[in-house]
Amino acid sequence: MTANFDNSATTFPKPESVRRAVSTAMVRYGGNPGRGGHSLSAAAGEQVYRVRKTAAEFFGAEVENTVFTPNCTYALNMAVKGIMQNGGHVIITCYEHNACSRPVFALAKNGRARFSIANIYEDTDRTLDELSALIMPETKAVCCIIASNVTGRIMPYREIAELCRKRGLCFIADGAQACGILDLKMSDGFNFLCTSGHKALYGPSGTGLLISDGQYKLSTIVEGGTGATSSELDQTPYMPEQLESGSVNTTGIIGLGAGIEFVRRKTPAVIRAHEKSLCELFENGLRNIGGVIVYDEGSERVPITAFNLGEEHSDRITTLLNEEGFALRGGLQCAALVHRTLGTTEQGVVRFSPSAFNSREQVRRLLAAIQKIKRKI
């Protein structure tokens, strides 16, 4: 069986509790939540509310400010476009995933907003100075990834949040790689925290969260049925339904609830320590192999290792590793800006991203496979 070291894309396997929850949801909670007064709808509605409460508590948010989305990309689009609806200027960083940079670029391309890209430096003060210098009178928001999906590098998100607070800017955070690994709370200074549910929160694919601190009201980018105020043609103004048009992914949400419970019980700190120890084992092994470049090696990172074997294209390495029974991600990891920053747009990088379910033995076998490939190329 293939050993999955591409958990930054989606964690697999999922905890047994998640599998059970999804199975139960398919059998018992088939009603459409919030869409009727009958018992099937009510039972599903109770379950969705229970998960909403679990997620809200996990991130220190109010339940009505906790919105279910299909993934982190949707959450980021909703936040960025919702804030920039009437134009203005937004700042992003050179470490953004395309989920942030593409909606911002699309707004600019259509003449609806302007944007600037801030560099991230090892020196946090220098990063903050650059961000400050980019702020204009029409700047409305800063959108920043918390931890890079390519190298795992952790951004100075608390300091950026503080800068935004002082300058009266909305801070939109992309927590896709950080939620479930770092102990993140809305009190860290996020106005919007966007995350996927299927990565380090261990929920099923097709789940995500958009969590707000309630300070900013988003314009909607999707309107439709919400199960409330149905006689009105205006979108319901009440959260979270205002941002959840159409039927929600009940099965996925119930699975996500079990995933968050799994993380809460283990704690993000314990999961991170386990994965970090696997990354350390892996990086020590890479050093022994030689001829390997590890990116952002000296930075504080979530447990991700981005590397290359000499000049070899990353996709060739991951193809060969797949033949050896290991799933790692090559190429650009949907992060054009990061690869421009790293100078790896042509080669890409190989990304190693373990989960709570990977073992040291699997890492040792992976290192042996890399050694074998190194001899071959």
């Binding site: 509605g45 109770e46 409460k53 339940v63 009505e64 199960g227 409330a228 105020t229 009105e232 319901t236």
Partner: protein, 90 residues
């Protein structure tokens, strides 16, 4: 045989508007309705979430069915900043 145990505190004040069908408080969303139910049940009040009866609201919606003094309940909703649309008696 004891079939169920009610947590509700039976004070005279809280029971003064009690009737068999209860009173409805129309909520703005199912999430606020569920949150209100959580809070009110936690305070010992009877409260259940139900579809807003047809003659009480415009369009679809959810209500709290309560059996206690509606003034006490709405005071709690205000205290917890839970928006509601109105209080109805069938």
């Amino acid at each position: 045989m004891l079939l169920f145990r009610k947590k509700r505190k039976r004070t005279v004040d809280r029971m003064e508007n009690f009737n068999m069908t209860g009173t409805y408080i129309a909520m703005t969303s199912i999430t606020y309705a569920m949150k209100a139910k959580d809070i009110l049940n936690g305070l010992g009040y009877f409260c259940e979430v139900t579809r807003t009866p047809k003659n009480m609201g415009s369009g679809c919606g959810y209500s709290l069915r309560i059996k206690d003094n509606p003034d006490l309940i709405t005071a709690q909703l205000d205290r917890h900043m839970l928006p509601y649309k109105g209080v109805f008696r069938p």
